[in-house]
Symmetry: C2
Subunit: 379 residues, 2 copies
Amino acid sequence: MTITSSAIRGRTDLCTAIENELSGLIGKRASAATAYGPDFARLWALAGQNVLGGKFVRPLLLMETYDALCQQHQQYGSADSRQRENAISIAAAVELLHYAFLLHDDVIDGDLVRRGHPNLIGSLLAEASTSARTDGRDGADGAHGIHAGSPLHWAQTCGILMGDMLLAATHQSFARANLPHELRLRLLDLLEHTINETVAGEQLDVGLGDGVIAPDLQTILVMCGYKTATYTFELPLRAAATLAGADFAVENSLATAGRHLGLAFQLQDDLLSTFGDPRRHGKDPFSDLREGKETAIIAHARTTHAWPDIEPFFGMPELSVGDGEHVRRHLSDCGAEAFVQGLIEEQMQAFNSQLTTTIPASVRNVLLDLAGQLEGRQS
Amino acid sequence: MTITSSAIRGRTDLCTAIENELSGLIGKRASAATAYGPDFARLWALAGQNVLGGKFVRPLLLMETYDALCQQHQQYGSADSRQRENAISIAAAVELLHYAFLLHDDVIDGDLVRRGHPNLIGSLLAEASTSARTDGRDGADGAHGIHAGSPLHWAQTCGILMGDMLLAATHQSFARANLPHELRLRLLDLLEHTINETVAGEQLDVGLGDGVIAPDLQTILVMCGYKTATYTFELPLRAAATLAGADFAVENSLATAGRHLGLAFQLQDDLLSTFGDPRRHGKDPFSDLREGKETAIIAHARTTHAWPDIEPFFGMPELSVGDGEHVRRHLSDCGAEAFVQGLIEEQMQAFNSQLTTTIPASVRNVLLDLAGQLEGRQS
């Protein structure tokens, strides 16, 4: 079997293939949804817009790794095109899972906006606020968190429900994969592991924010790994290895490399949010401080003499620009910025040393390409 | 093949089998959860207590129908015991689905109590309230529904996350069923249909409560069917028919009969809540009125001359006992009580006429036994 030209596919072709698969998965459900009335159909229409507007980071990583592993094994015969369709289908399901997590995260965080645009909850809130019947009841109920009777309650409920349907759709794609049952069971194991770990990470994140869990550095690093690295890096890499029939040693090396890279990305996100140029990353430069987000930066600052000067401003919703700049200077001077830069370097060293193990050269390039995006990142 | 003694199993044996299966499903996950720390493990411990304390209405209906269909086909040879294990596994998964729906419903409704005991959210709220760190931040954020930073936010977040894991566990059981792939796909179709319809029902229910959807009788009846009858009656009956290899005509008759029975139960719930004896049903006799719950009773009352006397009290959180009795009298005098009794009779007639079609005699008895619970029901 030789490597055919189909083995060399550009990222654009991959994006198109993933987009087509997602369009099919969502389109089928959006059509069926119309039978349940306009409000139900609206959920699928909005979810479709949002999912298809994504950057497909996770499915691209899965497919590029899969293609590289198959190229390594010189596996591209015509008989393997059905195999590749299965990979595309699992890659698309990974994107649905990502969006399910985002939606429930948005409900939990009370977020109405994502990347500068209204998210599903924000869109439904705007629509409900303009069309709500006014029957003199406000239904507000201070004791119970979400206020029944408000357009926000409606919109957040829709966020929970749509997240449930996307989680279900993810499982349906994994369960229906046209693979030997044994292989399908391995993918189902991987999906279960991923969901458990992501949920554990989300729970830690919320527990830290709500003051239920103590904010020590170790907990924060574990949280970052669970909440993001597992499903963003480990899941696509392990799924690609499983689908390509790679050795378990290769799969494990890929997963370890992915976790180190994922943690480096997450730590860099925190640095950019606090010290980055808001003209480049486009976010409120003090939102992490205003929210009182427990990051590795803050965990380090707590251990320094600067903390008494920082603490009064931490988690202060009405933090002024002047106060924000004051806190940022303290965080830099006390060594918290440099400390987290050091953590990122450690993760990148561990990542690089994984690359020299059992990972085939073709796959190494996929990962190095991804790691290259870390350097010089501004947003 | 003759009917062996194992074909005649009592309900106690069935309960034990279902309980063992659920213990296994939850126990395995509870053990794995300990690796993620005490807060994550607590989720599975609480969910296990709550799921195993249930009455198993849905899995019992599934198994009794399955056994009756197999008995009809005289299918109990020793080779069929593995088949029956699959049925037990799907029955247990249906109970996990029920609990996933309950949890997300409790988050959406802000409920902390179920059947007189704290639900998972209520338990975690009590635990977090006594152990929360006090760091001077309350994190309250009036604009965003769930208040970040409060023990309630933590407890409701855990409700969303645990519901997600139970939804995932349900799918895992369906996807792993040791059945021919074709049969597994039919069960996966059924699961998808069930989740879509239940979500559509929940969305309608919340839309009615939040004043986003107009409360006409037809919408309320459709909502009742979708939200409860589909997963409580149609799902177990269709799954039993699929697993027992029954004709599609039999499956459809069972599903239709189940939907009528389910709607009758739901309408009777509404009647009991409003007109029943609180010493018997144990609930606040005016909670539906205080919440402004859009029931068939209210939909009918809106169309009568009595509505102007009822409306001022509807959805009034501080409704007094005297006011509640006044409204109840009006609802009875205006014919709303009798109207809903008539709807129940219609549903029961439609149910009974389904029984005389293609449904085998053995299964008919299972359904008649269930319907018998409707008569003389006080809670």
